[in-house]
Symmetry: C2
DNA sequence: AACTCGTTATACCGATTGGTATAATAAATG
DNA sequence: CATTTATTATACCAATCGGTATAACGAGTT
């Protein structure tokens, strides 16, 4: 593994365990077994490191996410695909998911908000598009697409949190269940 | 307002806006218009300040919470009461709720985790008790009380997040809706 | 062999961190 | 009025913060 990859790996571990603000650049460099200027050579500054951690760990997620959010006139199946994308990320990279999912709801100012907010909005906007497109097929969800996007993400996160706590497994059945339960609340 | 109250108020604002770790004790003292030793006189150390912010802002919440979690053989009504307790806190003290709700899911080490974890567990345990008691009346929720406690909190938080974002209002009707939708998923 | 280029280390910068020793002040009590 | 007691400020501590100037290092290239 290259020095750069080791730095990214250790940064993620420390950011998750102690928080971004509480993690000094020195500590990351020490954990990676290199000097501080090496870190600055690769990432420019602390925020660059944060950005790199986010980008690398979300690379394949975005690919799957963009594919899943292409609405195909079957809202429930579309939501199931989306849920599975999140489940996959959680299973493939639980350390990162646990960290990222807490940051998207953190209203702090500073580096974290500036870097994470656009990533969250991109998810929210794509989900809103899905519900907006679906509302042309189903008349029952007038103007609530924004609220649906919010709470659907909440439902997914709730399952993943249970998974990360060892309570459940993230099966296709689980994705099926939460999507059906979610849509029931809208249509009924 | 006493000096102590001003310190608690400013600490909450800064903790929420910039995060606990990123907020220096000096900044809190400056914001309150007093010297640093004044802060240490009242709270001992930074963690004592954190503890005091949590305790004071949750004082009336716990009273209402303990009353609401007394299961009375009507699971839906009990859940509604609980939801309203959270809604009340969010409406009465949105600044605090926005801060606290992000911390309970943050798996960091350090002061925040040590102070917040027991508060979260107390909520979780009380909710588990509710579902456990209810499972004696309803046979359909065998051994899943822990998972229900998790996801019920998730549902509530999802509503409150939507409220804090200006999307919805936290009415009694909203509490009714989410509890019914939640229980449907369990019984069906 | 000379040279370049990407990578890394030593040592340092000013600013800020959490925390404190000392003492001046204010109010309350005798 | 004198004394205590609670409250506040000035000034400081070692440690760490994010960030950098300088240069040594090894691998290729010419």
């Amino acid at each position: 593994m290259s020095t750069k990859e080791v730095l990214l790996q250790q940064a993620l571990i420390l950011f998750r365990r102690e928080g971004y603000d509480a993690t000094g650049v020195q500590k990351v460099a020490d954990a990676a077994g290199v000097g501080k200027p090496t870190l600055y050579h690769y990432f420019g500054n602390k925020r660059g490191l944060l950005n790199a951690v986010l980008t690398t760990n979300l690379e394949s997620f975005w690919t799957e996410f963009d594919a899943a959010t292409a609405y195909n006139h079957e809202i429930v199946k579309t939501l199931e695909s989306i849920a599975r994308v999140y489940f996959d990320l959680a299973k493939r990279n639980p350390e990162f998911y646990a960290w990222f999912s807490t940051m998207v709801v953190t209203p702090n100012e500073g580096d974290i908000h500036d870097e994470v907010a656009p990533l969250y909005e991109r998810q929210l906007n794509a989900l809103m598009e899905v519900f907006l497109a679906a509302s042309k097929d189903h008349g029952n969800m007038k103007g609530r697409h924004q609220r649906y996007a919010y709470s659907f993400l909440g439902v997914i996160n709730s399952s993943v949190q249970a998974y990360l706590s060892g309570l459940i497994k993230l099966t296709d059945r689980e994705a099926f269940d939460i999507c059906h339960q979610f849509m029931y609340g809208i249509f009924s």
